[in-house]
Every structure is written in structure tokens, then in C-alpha cells.
Symmetry: C2
Subunit: 219 residues, 2 copies
Amino acid sequence: MENSYYNVLETLLLIYASDEGKLKIYLQKKQDEPYKGYWVLPSATLDNKTTLEENAHKIYKDMTNLDETYMFQSKIFSNLDRNPNNRVIGTAFVAVTDKTLTDMKQESNDKAWFDIQELPKLGFDHANIIEEVSKEISSQITTNYNDMLLAFFPSDFTLPELQLFYENVLGKPIDRRNFHKKYVNQELVIDTGFKTSKGSGRPGTLYRFNLDKMKGKRL
Amino acid sequence: MENSYYNVLETLLLIYASDEGKLKIYLQKKQDEPYKGYWVLPSATLDNKTTLEENAHKIYKDMTNLDETYMFQSKIFSNLDRNPNNRVIGTAFVAVTDKTLTDMKQESNDKAWFDIQELPKLGFDHANIIEEVSKEISSQITTNYNDMLLAFFPSDFTLPELQLFYENVLGKPIDRRNFHKKYVNQELVIDTGFKTSKGSGRPGTLYRFNLDKMKGKRL
DNA sequence: ACAAAAGTGTTGCTGTTACACCCATGG
DNA sequence: CCATGGGTGTAACAGCAACACTTTTGT
């Protein structure tokens, strides 16, 4: 085969959400060869009349039945041996969604959420892609505030839940008193007036982000 | 023309350097139509036997006659109308180099350095690409320390020079006394024992980065 | 009453900010 | 000796880190 300047591109979508403080990703089970029965990232081949962004949105809608999301470009993977059949260049996009909302709209046993730390057997080079991209978003979450955090926590949340999320992303424990003080004293969150009431223990106060104070904030 | 799953990709390289505290980019003058006489980013079409990284290195070597550099992937541009002739997907890479070293190895009047703030007339969508990518690297430089800063300041530099670079990237002035104190007190830089001696005024102390202390540092 | 989970206060340290004067060199 | 640019000290403030006990709920 001679060299050619034509290439095949696929858009890969990494759909993330927070589930009780855990960082999870939404995958699908492959129904045909190659890698039949393995879990893979949802993807779509790019035709020459579509932008990568449009392609990524299409995948998102197919996977979640939702329209709006926080989405951005991540890395490109152009190794020659990504796909056993022919050379395919993978362009990774990240979407952050609300797990509760997604689950309401979607019930299927060939799609599932997985903890980033406990991934199933993955097809192609998707394990590697998930690892690299997850590292990237972790560092984005834990440095400056940006809209991604709002996408993970759009509605009411408790401070212990947010803390757990940070602890999982950072990979190290945080002092509960200092964490609470920071968010409340600096008015980074606003008390919604509601409380949680799940299981035993004292109910937690539900907060939402104070966008004015969070703007440009270092975390 | 029917839809097809084949696409043409080009690698675009944004070569940056610091020049007396100014953030500059290395461009070339286009010799043929379209956009003859305009300045453009160096680029290369990707064939189906090459990775994007290899392609980017090839461009870097062609432009600078240098081998080693700090390089990483940036954004992909997949709008349908990027190129007047046919659809070309642009994958942007960033390289950071030493301007002095580059100029020593390269003398050509169809290549030149431009201040990010004073760009010439640019072909294709390259003005837009430079703007978007520059914004990205600015925010990377001004948050956490990473190897990019070392690529901009590999060898001896004065603190006023480094300060000027930050001021340009941040777009706002910094107090000289506080800047100096921070880098010296926290031992983020090491005195090399040498001084500058250019023009009038008191000579500046030449420093280099103290990598141990800079590791993971917030700036 | 007890288990489970949430809430809270104090102290010391570290880094940031604001601010004005002196020092070394070239012409 | 003067113009140019580099180097320095102090005090107030803000945020962060380390530390243990109390409060509210379900069972």
C-alpha cells in the first residue's frame, strides 16, 4: 500500500459524571467484532461534511438522550496501530453530564457507568485514552475553577459530597473542617435552605455554587 | 460530491519563544497561491504512515534546524471552510524554543519572529488559531509551573526579564520588589554568579530555575 | 442509647500585597 | 553628576494546615 494523504478519523467521547463523590465514565459494550463483548468508548467516524464538534454532540445525544452538555476537545491519538484493521486517528472529546438526569433518560444493559478506578476490560487503546484524558481533567478540576466543576455539580450538593469528589480526584484526604470553612467563609457556595435526608446520620446542608465568587478562583 | 469518510489532515506548528520578555511566534511567508505573500504557520499534510507527533517534529526541524524541543498537542480545527480549495482538518501543535539558538541556526527572509500582540497579515484561519492557542498557553504559563516555562527560560535570565514576560502574558503589571522577593526567598531561582552587562543601568543578576523547588509550584 | 454523618473554633505559618529608597553601571 | 535600570525591608492581611469535640438524625 502506498502512502496517501487521506486518513480516517473517529471522534471518541468520554462522558464523565460525579456519582456520590466518585468520578465515573459512561461506556458501552461492543456488540460485534473486533473486541466483541469488551467495553469501549462511544465513537463515530467523521465524514467530510461534519465538524468534530458536531460529531461529538451526535454521539452525546445517542448515548444520553440529552441535548445540552459541557463539552470540550481533548487529545488526538494518531498511533498507526490503534485499530487492528486500518489506520484510524482518534480525536477525544470530553463531556460532563448529570448522572441522575442521564439515568432517567436511558435504561440499557449495553451502557454503564464505571468508576475511573475500576474499569472493565476495554477494547482497542481505550484504556490508555481514558487514563490520559482522566489525568488531564483531574488536573483541570484541581487547579483553577472553571465551568467543568459546575457541570459536575449543577444542582444542590452537600459539602461532604463535594469534598469526597475532590479527595477522589486529588487522590488524598482533605480535612473536613478546613474544607467546610473555606467554602462557607469565602462564600463560594450558597445555602439553598434544603437538607439531605438519606440514611442515618445528621442531614447535610444543600448548597449551590456562588458563581460570582467562584469566577477565576484557584482551588 | 458525496459524503466520504476520508479526510485530509494537516499539522500546524506554533513555535514560541521569549524575546526580552515578549512572547513571540515564528512564522513563514507564503510563496505561492493561495495567500501568496501572507504570513502563515508552518504546516505539513499528514500521510497515512506518519503520526501527528512525527509530523510536528519534522516541521520543527525544517523551520529551526534544531532537533530537541518542548512540544505538545493543542487544539484541532475542523471547520469545513478552513481552506478555500478542499476540506482540511488542522491539528495544532505548540513548540517552545530558544530564540537565540534558533536565530543562530537559521537565517532566512521568508521566516520571522512576531510579537503575539503585533501579528502581520495572516493567511487562512491562522490568525484565529494563533489567538486561541496563545490564550491556552498563557493560561498554562500563569497557573502551575510546568516544563513549558523551563523551555522559555532554559538558560540564565534576570528576574526583571522574567517579570516582563509574566507581565506580557498576564497583561498586567507586577510589583518588582514582591516579584524579586518571591523568587529569591522561596529559592525558586539560583544565582549563577554571573551578571548581565548590556547598556546603561546597574547589571542584573543572572539566575536559573531551581527545578526541585519549582516542581508543582503554583505561580 | 448508640451509631452514623455533619457541623464548628483557635492558633500558627506562609505567602501576598502595598509601599519608597538606595545601589551599580554607562555616558 | 545624572540617567538608567536593579536590588532591598517592613507591616498588615488573607488563606492554609493542624488539631477534637459537639450536634442532629435514624434505628
